[in-house]
């Protein structure tokens, strides 16, 4: 393989104090022959001075005097190594001091993260925190290295207990690819070489895993976004716009629109020092020229005419507070997003996340290292995509204009939909029973003629709602159909409500605008409610991309009867599956506001169940869901064959 053609993996490593993280990295570097003799000699010298017999590889990483003194890691350290297959950049982040700001700095560049857990200690709170931050930053791949296996006699039990405990926690998080590996960094087991001491483990070594993780699919190649960095005008005849393609691809001849002016033009050329390009893609730095003279300057964004980001003055985001001075809702900050700086005000703190328990708590401010959800308003509109879909246009930093410190890192979820908020609030009051229809305030609620409980007794099972959400093509309907068939065949009362069916009748008057989508989901929720009250197990398959709409549906049902099931599948795979050819049309610009292409999908923060259709088979998923119904006492254990 040509040197320059190797692929690159940037990964971050994190762990708690004394879990052997530095030793693990040292081992990785040592065994891939990435430590130079003079560096090794220097480590030996320090180790001897500190009274160790053997060279402590940890000193290799602790670059600052204070770190070596105290034997701790203070700041993100970068290390570089390569194997015949790949080049690697390690961003090693400290696990304790200042961990949030450093982890955010380190992990924001990572394709993959390695969390190290000491086999003797089990899953500590710290390891959970790390997982949580990695999930906030949407690091797509997580490797959990269970270290110090030599100190638990290479016993499978200790390892299995940690795997189970961590899986328990990680299921609540937004991380879908988790790999566990038992290792001993000190002895070298399963780091680079496969260990002979753990015959019960037949998985890959850490290095093998790092070498083979597939990261190319994690990029967003769909939405062309080009924040203009600099205007290049060397002479009268040339005017080009320099920037980095942060997502998507572009070809000369494509129609573009410049935001915020809305001016339209056609790409004339993609100019570089090495010649004009026939096509350019993320993450290339190029210069674009246009077919006509229009006003474009730094801070503008060039996008495809038929694939626009969202624009607005207010947004909702998860932020990590990184400054000693607490967040203030009365002072203005500078928000830097792509190449734009705007004045910003944190209007409202929606909640703070208690990281250890993942509970949401009310808060008036955020202190250093605290994380939560806020509503921000900005002085001039910004152009963004939800962070989930596009890290580059969905991320921002906040700067304190007085100290010029970077005080927060933020990930945009969406524009707040306040109207919806109010409706939900009204609904929530009567959730589960009543319904205070806002346009007919004089109607009086009366109880169902035959209460659900009575119907349930007759039916021999409880009522429930399974609400499947996910991209088109993720597999919602396929799973829903098989699930209903299995339940029906076993004698249960069921009903399947599918998005496409409802749109042919009850919702035939609705389109795909945010408003119409809201109404569509509202009606679906109300219909599900009727079947629920009739004692049915209702299976609903709707893309339902917006968290607030789903929240509304949830508010209609008692807690024990509602299950939100997130059908997770990467957009790339959905596009490949494209069961109805809709993505093809959407990508060609023939369908507007198509989820995943030109309209966002907000991943559920707390679904009852997450299923992965890229990994699990439909039959397995259905078995798992039936198991869940049994565990929740909705159906009987002996009812299914």
């Amino acid at each position: 393989m040509q040197y320059g053609e190797k692929s690159l993996l940037r990964f971050t490593t994190t762990g708690s104090v004394d879990d052997g993280k530095s030793t693990l990295i040292g081992r990785l570097l040592y065994e891939t022959k990435s430590i130079y003799e003079d560096q090794y000699a220097a480590i030996e010298k320090i180790s001897q001075r500190k009274g160790f017999k053997e060279a402590d590889l940890a000193y290799l990483l602790d670059g600052l005097a204070a770190e070596r003194e105290q034997g701790i890691t203070i700041d993100v350290a970068h290390r570089y190594f390569e194997t015949p297959k790949r080049k690697f950049i390690i961003m090693d982040t400290p696990g304790h001091l200042q961990y949030t700001r450093n982890m955010v700095t380190g992990a924001s560049h990572a394709d993959c993260a390695v969390i190290i857990i000491d086999a003797r200690n089990g899953v500590l709170t710290q390891s959970k925190r790390h997982g949580f931050i990695l999930s906030l930053l949407q690091i797509p791949h997580l490797i959990v290295a269970v270290n110090k296996m030599d100190l638990v006699d290479y016993q499978e039990d200790s390892y299995a207990a940690i795997v189970e405990a961590y899986q328990d926690y990680s299921q609540k998080l937004d991380i879908h690819d988790v790999t566990f590996i038992p290792v001993s960094a000190l002895k070298g087991d399963n780091v680079v070489e496969k260990s002979g001491k753990m015959p019960w483990y037949d998985g890959p070594t850490l290095l093998y895993c790092l070498e083979n993780i597939h990261v190319a699919a994690d990029r967003n190649l769909v939405d062309f976004r080009f924040p203009v960095q600099y205007v290049i005008r060397p002479h009268q005849d040339f005017r080009g716009f320099a920037g980095k393609i942060v997502s998507g691809t572009i070809v000369p001849g494509e129609k573009i629109v410049v935001l915020p002016s809305g001016n339209r033009a056609v790409i004339k050329s993609i100019t570089t020092y090495d010649g004009d390009l026939p096509e350019a893609f993320v993450p290339q730095s190029v210069v674009l020229t246009l077919d006509r003279e229009i006003d474009v300057s730094r801070g503008d964004m060039i996008v495809r005419e038929k694939n626009l980001p969202q624009a607005g003055n207010s947004l909702e985001a998860i932020i990590c507070w990184m400054d000693e001075t607490a967040l203030s809702t009365t002072k203005s900050y500078i928000l830097k997003q792509t190449t734009r700086h705007v004045r910003a005000l944190i209007k409202k703190i929606v909640y703070k996340i208690e990281i250890d328990t993942l509970h949401r708590m009310p808060a008036d401010t955020f202190l250093l290292n605290e994380i939560g959800r806020v509503e921000i308003s900005v002085a001039t509109p910004i152009f963004y995509d939800p962070y989930r879909i596009n890290h580059a246009t969905g991320s921002f930093i906040l700067i304190d204009p007085l100290t010029n410190n970077t005080v927060a890192a933020g990930m945009i979820r969406n524009a707040p939909r306040n109207i919806r908020c109010e409706i939900s609030a009204v609904r929530a009051e009567g959730a589960g029973t009543g319904n205070a229809a806002s346009k007919s305030p004089d109607t009086v609620w009366s109880d169902w003629n035959i209460p659900r409980e009575t119907r349930e007794r007759q039916n021999g099972h409880h009522a429930a709602v399974f609400w499947f959400t996910g991209y088109s093509g993720a597999g919602k309907t396929t799973i829903g159909k098989l699930l209903e068939r299995r339940l029906f065949d076993a004698g249960y009362r069921t009903m399947l409500l599918d998005g496409d069916q409802l749109r042919h009748g009850l919702c035939g008057d609705l389109g795909f605008s945010v408003r119409d989508r809201q109404e569509n989901i509202r009606r679906a929720g109300e219909v599900a409610k009727l079947f629920f009250e009739a004692g049915h197990i209702v299976i609903c398959t709707f893309i339902s991309p917006f968290a607030r709409d789903r929240q509304f549906v949830r508010s209609l049902f008692p807690k024990t009867g509602f299950f939100e099931i997130y059908v997770n599948c990467s957009l790339e795979t959905c596009i490949k599956r494209d069961p109805h050819g809709l993505y093809k049309k959407a990508l060609a610009g023939e369908i507007s506001e198509f989820t995943g292409v030109s309209s966002p999908y907000e991943e559920p923060p707390d679904p009852e169940v997450v299923v992965e259709t890229e990994i699990q088979s439909v039959a397995n998923i259905v078995d798992m869901l039936l198991g869940r119904l049994i565990r929740e006492n909705i159906i009987r254990e002996d009812a299914l064959v």
Partner: protein
């Protein structure tokens, strides 16, 4: 068909170009520190690419100690003439006149006066608010911890415990009165990447990177060029030293001041041979840099005082 894969070097190139454009757009008066070495050569090429077809919108500045190799001065003049770059040369004339020299004044003091001091003076004199440096994180352990945008106080000092968070590629370029920022666009490049890129892009470099026969004396296993043994005057001749002079085939792996730069035994006379050597290297690139060896934290200490 198209897998939209960018080669590793193209990835690094794009990252560096993005950084340079951010600096040019957001700072009032940036400058690119030019040390004549291979990393500088690569950095200048990246700047040419970043602003093509325009010229890069900042001058180059060489902090000259007066102790550089003659080949470096010759190369500097020719290189800058060819690319048509504006070159500023700044020297700490006061201390050079005082005869400041590593062997006489001590390595640390000499660096502090002739490099750090001269740099800070020059930044003030020209009112530069941002300076690109060619440092790479792989080079040295304290550099491994430095941000790409490294804020320095009015005395040019780095505070490693108080670095700004640097998430994604959103660089905070705002500074307070008197502060400056050092920007390291090559942060994520390795020595090998530099050579591979020099080869791929056919970038000119100072000829003393290539091996030939040279007169040296051996001190602590480091090959010191004979010229370095005489007090600051490379022309003082062999009499200046009583040590044994040997003639070996060697080259310079990294370039600094003559008295503080050792050579390494090598027969590499082409870029390909150098790449082969770097790949097989068992010792780090700064093994022959006397300035890094004075104490365990010598580089961190220098950076805290305002060094590049």
């Amino acid at each position: 068909m198209n897998s939209y894969r960018l080669s590793y070097l193209k990835n690094l190139e794009s990252e560096s170009i993005h950084i340079m454009r951010e600096v040019a757009a957001e700072f009032r008066n940036p400058v690119m520190l030019y040390s004549v070495g291979k990393d500088s050569s690569v950095m200048v090429r990246l700047a040419q690419k970043a602003f093509y077809p325009g010229k890069f919108p900042f001058p180059l500045m060489h902090i000259d100690t007066g102790y550089k190799f003659p080949e470096m001065y010759a190369f500097r003049e020719e290189f800058c003439r060819q690319i048509g770059a504006e070159l500023i040369v700044e020297r700490n004339e006061h201390w050079i006149a005082q005869g400041c020299h590593p062997l006489k004044s001590g390595v640390d003091k000499c660096c502090s006066y002739l490099k750090t001091g001269a740099l800070l003076d020059a930044m003030r004199k020209h009112r530069f608010d941002a300076a690109f440096g060619g440092a790479r994180r792989e080079e040295e352990k304290s550099r491994a911890k430095e941000r790409i945008f490294s804020v320095r106080d009015p005395f040019g000092q780095w505070d490693p415990k108080n670095q700004r968070p640097e998430p994604w590629d959103l660089y905070n370029t705002r500074i307070n009165e008197g502060e400056t920022v050092r920007i390291f666009p090559l942060s994520n490049w390795t020595e090998q990447d530099i050579w591979e890129y020099i080869k791929q892009e056919k970038i000119p470099i100072v000829p003393i990177y290539f091996a030939r026969e040279r007169d040296v004396v051996v001190r602590n296993g480091i090959l010191i060029p004979l010229a370095a043994c005489s007090y600051g005057d490379p022309k003082a001749g062999k009499n200046a030293t009583a040590e044994e002079i040997t003639r070996v085939i060697c080259r310079f792996r990294s370039l600094g001041c003559i008295p503080c730069t050792g050579a390494i035994a090598s027969t590499a006379t082409t870029i390909d041979e150098i790449i082969g050597e770097v790949r097989a290297a068992r010792k780090s690139e700064r093994e022959n840099r006397v300035i890094d060896l004075t104490s365990d934290s010598s580089m961190e200490q220098k950076k805290k005082e305002g060094y590049f």
